[in-house]
């Protein structure tokens, strides 16, 4: 099947979508969602920690950055726009699960097909 946006071939096919995203395992859906958001925050926190560790390593080795300047830095207007977009993406990535649709997942696996995903 071709990519509907560009007609580039993607060799995909319609597939049967699972309903696993709607499952609730704890006492209510919000508790489930909070745990998922908590997990996402952990992932983002670890990514940040790793980046800081890499930066600190190169700073220490090359003496290329003054830590005081890092502490005092104010983003430029352009950076502010970019960083706020990144922030919003981070929030969407981490917390959008709180808005997910939920359902009771039981009985047979679904059999209804949906269109293939686009690039």
């Amino acid at each position: 099947m071709a990519d509907r946006k560009s007609n580039r071939p993607t060799y995909t096919a319609d597939y049967i979508k699972g309903d696993f995203e709607k499952a609730v395992y704890l006492d209510n859906a919000h508790t489930d969602n909070l745990m998922t958001a908590f997990l996402g925050l952990g992932a983002e926190h670890w990514a940040l920690r790793r980046r800081v560790m890499v930066l600190e390593k190169f700073m220490a080795e090359g003496n290329v950055i003054d830590p005081a300047l890092v502490e005092a830095y104010e983003p430029t207007p352009e950076e502010k726009v970019t960083w706020e977009a990144e922030r919003d993406d981070f929030i969407e990535r981490t917390f959008s699960v709180l808005t997910r649709a939920t359902n009771t997942v039981s009985g047979p696996v679904p059999t209804g097909k949906v269109p293939a995903r686009e690039p």
């Binding site: 096919a13 319609d14 597939y15 992932a43 696996v109 293939a116």
Partner: protein, 404 residues
């Protein structure tokens, strides 16, 4: 520092020289058989086998998923998991041993135990996080990754056959492992599967294709030692297929899979590794190869992803395309009839199996578990070998020999 492509070019030249030297007398000498230690790879082998995300954050998010899945698997309820589960079951008047209670009922019973429910929640959320963050990496630059595959679709080494109009049985189009779009519905399914699997799915056990290299290295050869052609059934993104080519560089190696995006990525990756491997989008029950064409047919984790009726069609097809004396090398999850891997049927084990089946979308795994797979092999004419080989890292492997 050598780039990945530089290392590939150097290794390919060396491999080509070896193949040329051995190829002149291939018919009268045993097949070239390269030994690679999966767990002590050289720096060049690691560079060939790694699939590291380009951006630090992508790599870090996958690193977190890897660590968390590992922790959740063993530590969420602490070392008292068994004690907690047993006390819970006793409080409900249930046995802690084998039970006749159904899988779904076991799952629903265990959800009343808080640490189990939390473990399942985190397990599902970590799986979703793994797929989502990998998916975002490729869908964030769709034109780039489409272009990369377009560049290699019609180039070698090796070849790629895609059949976009072919009929795909419904059993092949589920979102297996809860991977968005499954193996057929996402243009980057092969990338997502390989890159997420490399780190997080195997929880650091496959960062350099160790699992797939070991599978290929462990495969027994036919008694006469001749390995001229190998078929890797349900090859997915081609990691095992490429590992066979690395072990048997002068063999004709094929990987087939129902998923077009999977074999397309497999071919792309084989070109990057300069491996002459053939990938085709075909069904395992209709391989379209001549009778007796292959010396070895292998499958890794194929049969639990097909229905029992499909398995009953695939097995005779494997027998048909193997030559007399050829080896069928099967490696999958536990199944009735394989005494080397006893299957646990406790409430807890059934609850986890139901989670895998229903919530991780393994629609056919329960059928596979309860099918007598060795009997199915024998019914198609195979001599079944359940011997645990010293070098085979997975004792669940089952070997079928087509009588000479």
């Amino acid at each position: 520092m050598l780039s990945r492509r530089t290392i590939l070019a150097t290794s390919a030249a060396a491999a080509a020289a070896v193949v040329t030297a051995a190829g002149t007398s291939q018919a009268s000498t045993p097949s070239l058989d390269i030994k690679i230690d999966p767990y002590n790879q050289t720096a060049e082998q690691k560079a060939l086998h790694t699939a590291r995300f380009e951006k630090l954050d992508q790599e870090s998010l996958m690193s977190f998923a890897e660590g968390f899945k590992s922790w959740n698997g063993k530590d969420l309820a602490g070392r008292g998991q068994r004690r907690i589960t047993n006390a819970f079951l006793r409080s409900k008047g249930l046995t802690i041993g084998r039970t006749e209670i159904g899988y779904e009922e076991c799952f629903n019973l265990m959800l009343d135990e808080p640490s189990f429910a939390a473990k399942i929640r985190f397990n599902r959320s970590a799986q979703a996080l793994m797929w989502d963050r990998a998916l975002r990496a490729f869908h964030g630059e769709p034109d780039r990754y489409l272009a990369l595959m377009e560049e290699t679709d019609n180039t070698g080494p090796g070849s790629l056959e895609l059949n976009p109009g072919m009929h795909l049985p419904d059993y092949t189009v589920h979102e297996i492992h809860a991977q968005p779009g499954g193996y057929v519905g996402d243009p980057f399914a092969g990338w997502i599967y390989h890159w997420a699997l490399t780190q997080a799915f195997y929880q650091a056990r496959n960062q350099y294709d160790e699992v797939f290299t070991a599978i290929a290295q462990d495969c027994p050869k036919p008694d006469d030692g001749q390995v001229r052609r190998i078929l890797d059934l349900g090859c997915g993104s081609g990691l095992s297929t490429m590992a066979y080519k690395e072990r048997f560089p002068n063999a004709e190696v094929w990987g087939i899979d129902a998923g077009g995006p999977m074999v397309r990525y497999g071919h792309y990756e084989a070109v990057q590794r300069n491996l002459d491997v053939h990938f085709a989008q075909r069904l395992a029950e209709d391989t379209r190869f001549p009778d007796g064409y292959f010396d070895i047919v292998s499958d890794y984790l194929l049969f639990h992803e097909v229905t029992v009726p499909a398995a009953q069609k695939i097995m005779p097809e494997i027998h048909r395309v193997l030559r007399p004396g050829g080896v069928f090398y099967h490696d999958d999850s536990p199944t009735i009839g394989n005494p080397n891997v006893p299957m646990s049927l406790t409430v807890y084990a059934k609850a986890r199996a139901w989670e895998d089946h229903r919530h991780n979308i393994e629609p056919w795994i329960l059928g596979y578990r309860h099918a007598d797979f060795p009997a199915l092999m024998r019914g198609s004419g195979f001599e079944v070998d359940l011997t645990i080989r010293q070098n085979v890292h997975r004792k669940r492997a089952i070997f079928g020999i087509k009588p000479a």
